[in-house]
């Protein structure tokens, strides 16, 4: 079909279009052409359109943006667009030469100039404008002045009488219409593109008309037909077209609307223009329809396919009268519709309708499942194509349609085992006709479903998560899952391993983040409370864990693309972690070695990785592995960008760091709200684990000069807490943790406990866990233990001995636990003490240096550094590196070395250092 595009004239295209009889046709005149296929008609039209309309559409599009920019007073945008417009106008020069300057162009120029002058006068407004805009305004004003000089006469004419000039245009065109066929068609299409959106309804009316025609006028003369139609149209027009145009004003991309709306006086001609346009179009159509009506008897049966405009029953004419509907014809028609796909000016909605109609015809004529499947594929594809923009998401009705279609398609595929589909089936080797051989259809159901899944994500991303709408949309998740499931069963029978892997991954993606309450309840040994619930449980099949395991293992074994496997592993870990299977999750994470090379993965996988790590950390926390929890969460939390890293929202940043394009990309990566991980929970878990680790550590290393921080963020929070001039009762989660930390520092576990676990914190954090009670118990125990440790570190210096019974009473821990904690501390040399078995007491050994001693040690260390530095200076003076060492082999330096290794020789070193005395020497040299 593509060869038509090269052709300039209709006759040529018609000649080549079909093997059937070919007669040149002039739509302006009225005659009947029997056996002319309607395809030809459409073809010719399209060819003409592409020649000129493309240019004009470009212009109108630009004009539209300019008008919009005018409305919002965006001068810089206006200027930009205007420059583009001038360029575009130059490009379409030869067409303009032929046709004259299009009226809408003149109109814009005039309006723009007026508008600019008006703005220019408005001194107040100008002052308010920002610098860019003001600059653009002056530039634009100068430009348009210069530019408009070329069109002076036209503009003057327009300004004088805008209405008339518009009318004149119309009249000018009128005679042309009836003249040469190609010209008139060109005109028609040029207008029709002006009013793009309403085309559908207008077509619809046409269909209505033709339906009527088929009823009573099929045999009447064309003349009559035409008249009749005109009348009908006239009466109809005011109702439907006017209405539609009104209705569409706001949302459509209708270009002519702009002109219509512009001013009261210009409206009229606009409407009339439309009418004319429609009439013209109508005329052409009618002929074809009349032709076709005779042959087509299936009129009534078509109605149900069409939705569209209410009250108007449409009737697509697909095939000429009397054509034998067979597979070849349908395929041809299908291809023809497909040709229009992706072109500018193709009405995508109408295209979908056409496909539907075609499907209906195919079904009607029992052309077999092959062709049906083929058409379905195309319907779904064009549904996806509906939005030209990648960021835009499907409208709900489209989405529903899409789901339905895929469902139907799957139905067909399940019912008919003899259909082979695949991407690799070449177009020519397709077998669509009913025959003994199995059907072979090109197309990939898997891709369609994947795309559907993505669309679903997109819809969820673009819905406000706190609205009812979101909930409604989320209900579709079940259907999506159902489709994925069905596809899975289908693929398991028919698909290749790669395809199975892909569909498995889809399934996994829909499973991994959901908590399996059913399995959870079962593991707790609880039965469903009512009988019906139990039934439901049984009917729902296996546990998600089992499914995950099966699917993931298949992917591990069979997948050859690294990405799917990585995703599967991550999801698997996530799922394990979510269900508190800590060891499996951890082992899987460690075995996968993902930590080493995740930075090479693409951002969505990295986001998944981050999510998994966070989930792993939270899982570790639930299991009481505080250290693991802290380590897992450290990376995410320490950056302070947890939100961004988890793909749960964008951080506010200035535009230098991220332009609009990047922002769009990042937005597309966001995880839908129902999959979010609660950030407050995450932070709380992190802070509490940091507290449990850091507080005893701080107590143990109070005097250590080189004390390092375990968690920077936790320290930050502590500092923030300290800086508060007035300490009220804690409000936020962070304040609670800080307050608890302070209590723990004093070894006061009860206060600590009450700060960490109370109603506020329960509702904010702890109740979010599936096993909230267990977690709380774990937490209390941890607090007691760590408080005991902190207490011993902090206050061991004031005790000579302390009875373990007292400790166990103080911290409400059992004796063995206290015993084990203290023993551990002693073994790790954290606590200088020994246990006295008979009396059950801890006897402290005074080996901890006092603060003064600590200070002295620090000072000694610093002096050591100083000496070393000084030596370097000295070396430099000597000109020989290491000269000092050679010279002073027996002197202080060696002793200093030994001191650094062993602090006991402190005194000795001190003397050596004094003896060395080189500092004094050096100082003398200054």
């Amino acid at each position: 079909m593509s060869r038509f595009f090269a052709t300039g004239s209709d006759s040529e295209s018609e000649e080549s279009s079909s093997a059937d009889e070919i007669t040149p046709k002039a739509p302006g005149a009225t005659f009947k052409q029997s056996l002319l296929l309607s395809d030809d008609e459409e073809d010719t039209k399209r060819v003409v359109r592409s020649a000129k309309d493309k240019r004009f559409e470009e212009l109108t599009n630009l004009i539209k943006t300019i008008r919009n920019a005018m409305k919002i007073r965006d001068m810089s945008k206006c200027l930009e667009e205007f420059e583009q417009l001038c360029r575009a106008f130059l490009k379409s020069k030869n067409i303009v030469d032929k046709e004259g300057v299009p009226p809408f162009y003149i109109r814009l120029l005039a309006d723009l100039e007026d508008y600019l002058n008006q703005l220019w006068e408005d001194k107040e407004g100008k002052k308010k404008m920002n610098k860019n805009n003001a600059k653009a305004l002056s530039t634009l004003r100068q430009k348009i002045r210069k530019y408009n000089r070329d069109f002076e006469s036209e503009i003057a004419a327009y300004k004088e009488n805008p209405q008339e000039s518009a009318d004149e245009e119309e009249e000018e065109k009128e005679p042309e219409d009836s003249g040469s066929s190609s010209d008139s068609e060109g005109e028609v299409s040029s207008k029709s593109f002006l009013k793009k959106k309403p085309e559908a309804p207008s077509e619809a009316t046409k269909f209505l008309k033709s339906a009527k025609g088929s009823g009573d006028e099929s045999s009447s003369s064309d003349e009559d037909d035409d008249d009749d139609d005109d009348e009908d149209w006239g009466s109809d027009q005011s109702g439907s077209s006017g209405e539609t145009s009104d209705k569409e004003e706001g949302k459509t991309s209708s270009m002519s609307m702009l002109f219509l709306k512009k001013a009261q006086d210009t409206e009229k001609p606009g409407v009339r223009k439309e009418e004319r346009k429609k009439k013209l179009k109508q005329k052409e159509r009618i002929e074809e329809e009349a032709e076709e009506e005779g042959g087509e008897e299936a009129g009534g049966g078509w109605e149900k396919v069409k939705g569209g405009v209410p009250l108007v029953k449409e009737k697509p004419k697909m095939f000429a009268k009397g054509t034998e509907i067979n597979t070849a014809v349908v395929v041809k028609k299908l291809n023809e519709i497909l040709q229009a796909r992706g072109k500018k000016g193709t009405d995508r909605a109408a295209q979908i309708e056409l496909f539907h109609a075609l499907a209906a015809i195919a079904a009607e004529n029992n052309l077999g499942q092959g062709i049906l499947v083929k058409i379905k594929f195309n319907i779904i594809a064009s549904l996806y194509d509906y939005n030209p923009n990648l960021a835009a998401f499907m409208k709900p009705d489209m989405w529903k349609k899409c789901l339905d279609c895929i469902d139907e398609l799957l139905d067909i595929l399940f019912e008919h085992n003899n259909i082979f589909i695949g991407e690799n089936i070449a177009e020519d080797s397709e077998n669509l006709a009913v025959s003994d051989q199995p059907f072979r259809v090109r197309g990939c159901i898997l891709t369609l479903v994947e795309r559907m899944d993505e669309e679903f994500t997109k819809i969820m991303q673009n819905t406000d998560p706190h609205s009812q709408e979101y909930v409604d949309n989320l209900k579709d998740e079940g259907r999506v899952c159902g489709i994925v499931d069905r596809l899975l069963t289908y693929m398991e029978n028919k698909g290749s391993t790669e395809e199975i892997c892909r569909v498995y991954l889809r399934r996994i993606m829909h499973t991994y983040y959901k908590f399996d309450y059913k399995a959870h309840r079962r593991s707790l040994g609880l039965q469903g409370e009512t009988k019906s619930e139990q039934d439901q449980e049984e009917s729902e099949g296996e546990d998600s864990a089992v499914i995950m395991d099966r699917l993931c293992k298949f992917i591990y074994a069979k997948d050859r693309t690294d990405r799917i496997r990585t995703c599967a592993i991550l999801c698997h870990i996530y799922h394990h972690a979510l269900h508190s299977r800590w060891y499996q999750a951890r082992d899987l994470m460690l075995m996968s070695h993902l930590q080493d090379n995740i930075q090479h993965a693409d951002p969505p996988v990295q986001i998944l990785y981050n999510r998994t790590m966070v989930q792993l950390g939270i899982c570790a926390f639930r299991q009481g592995m505080i250290k693991d929890a802290h380590n897992a969460l450290l990376d995410i939390q320490s950056s302070g960008r947890a939100k961004e890293l988890l793909g749960q929202g964008l951080l506010m940043r200035n535009m230098q760091e991220r332009n609009a394009e990047q922002e769009k990309i990042e937005k597309r990566r966001q995880v839908p709200f129902h999959m979010h991980i609660n950030l407050e929970l995450l932070e709380c878990v992190y802070l509490v684990s940091a507290m449990l680790l850091e507080i005893p550590y701080m107590a143990a290393h109070e005097f250590d000069a080189r004390r390092r921080m375990i968690s920077k963020q936790f320290h930050h929070q502590l500092r923030v807490g300290e800086r508060q001039p007035l300490l009220g009762p804690p409000e936020s989660m962070r304040e609670h943790v800080v307050a608890a930390s302070k209590a723990m520092k004093m070894g006061d576990w009860r206060t600590c406990h009450s700060f960490i676990i109370n109603e506020k914190m329960n509702s904010k954090v702890w109740d979010l866990f599936p096993e909230a009670q267990r977690v709380r118990e774990m937490l209390v125990r941890k607090i007691q233990e760590e408080s005991l440790r902190t207490y011993l570190f902090t206050y061991s210096s004031v005790y000579d001995s302390i009875s373990m019974a007292t400790l166990s009473e103080m911290f409400e821990l059992e004796m063995p636990t206290v015993h084990s904690i203290i023993s551990k501390m002693i073994i790790n040399e954290e606590l200088m003490a020994s246990l006295d078995q008979p009396t059950q007491t801890v006897v402290m050994h005074r080996t901890e240096p006092t603060s003064l001693q600590n200070m002295a040690l620090q000072l000694a260390e610093k002096l050591g550094n100083l000496v070393e530095n000084n030596e370097r200076v000295f070396d430099l003076k000597q000109g020989v590196y290491g000269g000092y060492f050679n010279r002073d082999q027996k002197g202080g330096y060696q002793q200093k070395q030994s001191y650094q290794r062993d602090q006991k020789s402190y005194q000795q070193k001190q003397s050596g250092y004094q003896r060395g005395g080189y500092r004094n020497q050096n100082q003398g040299n200054y």
Binding site: T850, S851, L852, M855, A856, Q858, L859, K862, L863, N865, L866, N869, N870, R872, V873, L876, K877, N920, Q923, G924, N925, Y926
Partner: protein, 323 residues
């Protein structure tokens, strides 16, 4: 001038000066904050007699337009009206654990000494005083340091040439506190009346607090010193590296010139080498010297304190053994 330089080898304080200084600190200074004031007096023979003083008002941020000089002048004029010695002979400053050797002190003492030859700075240590022994010290800049300060040459070379160490920066001037006879009598009487408990302050055995503070300050200084040394080290390394480069460059040039000469060509024009090799900015060494002086000061303090305390500890031990 030369004769006057030797004059100040002893200062005599009137009790009123001491009491006023103490009172000033007690009222206005707290913690590490420093109070300052002006000393008045006159030079008699080879002694500087300080007979009176008045404090500087504490600086606050909001009255930035406060003119210190004018205040001093006015004070002195007023004092002259009531027939009090009004000659400016120096200034006093309180200190916190002996930390007074600083750039600020050096600068202001230099300007004092530059303008008024016999000026001294009295350093009053309130903490030591509170422990039972009055600590008041008078310092002057050594002539050597005066010269350096005059030249403002704090580069390593300059200091090296001046051959000055931290020990020779300040000279301490002995102080004699002189009371009128009546006051002496009063003192005797007071001492007679005072109970034993009043003197127990001297026997305080707790030492760690004071020592800790001193150590802390000492450590800070040592850190500063380390930094300075590292800076100096880098500088000297850079310098030597550049020297090497310069040397190489010169050699190459010489060779080339020799070659040219052998070929009978004119030698290369002279170029300004110092432009090619800009010597690195030498770090000022004065701060290091001051830090060293301060460290020395701390060490003296600690030493003094510990020796006293050791004595006390031995005493206490003996007492315990006796009991």
């Amino acid at each position: 001038m030369a004769s006057r330089e030797t004059t100040v080898f002893g200062t005599i304080n009137q009790t009123i000066v001491v009491l006023k200084i103490i009172k000033h600190y007690q009222e206005e200074g707290q913690g590490s904050e420093v109070v300052q004031g002006v000393l008045l007096g006159l030079v008699v023979d080879d002694r500087l007699e300080i007979t009176n003083c008045f404090p500087f008002p504490q600086h606050t941020e909001d009255d930035a337009d406060f003119d210190e000089v004018q205040y001093q002048m006015e004070m002195m004029r007023s004092l002259r009206h009531v027939n009090i010695d009004h000659l400016h002979v120096g200034w006093y400053q309180s200190t916190y654990y002996g930390s007074f050797v600083s750039r600020a002190l050096l600068d202001s003492q230099f300007s004092y000494q530059h303008a008024i030859e016999e000026s001294v700075v009295l350093i009053y240590d309130p903490i030591k005083t509170a422990q039972g022994s009055l600590s008041l010290k008078a310092y002057r800049l050594t002539p050597k340091l005066m010269e350096i300060c005059k030249e403002k040459d704090f580069t390593p070379e300059g200091l090296k040439k001046a051959n000055i160490g931290f020990e020779q920066m300040f000279e301490e001037v002995p102080i004699v506190i002189k009371n009128s006879h009546l006051i002496n009598v009063l003192m005797w009487e007071l001492e007679d009346k005072s109970t034993v408990a009043d003197k127990h302050e001297l026997l305080n055995l707790s030492s760690s607090n004071h020592l800790e503070k001193s150590l802390q300050l000492l450590m800070d200084r040592v850190d500063d010193m380390s930094q300075d040394i590292v800076k100096y080290n880098t500088y000297s390394r850079n310098l030597s590296k550049q020297q090497q480069q310069k040397h190489q460059y010169l050699q190459r040039r010489q060779q080339e010139n020799a070659q040219r000469q052998s070929r009978g060509e004119p030698p290369l024009p002279e170029e300004d080498i110092s432009k090619l090799f800009k010597p690195p900015q030498p770090p000022p060494r004065m701060d290091t010297l001051l830090i060293a002086g301060q460290i020395n000061n701390y060490c003296q303090n600690v030493k003094e304190f510990t020796s006293q305390n050791l004595g006390k500890l031995f005493m206490a031990e003996a007492l315990q053994g006796h009991n």
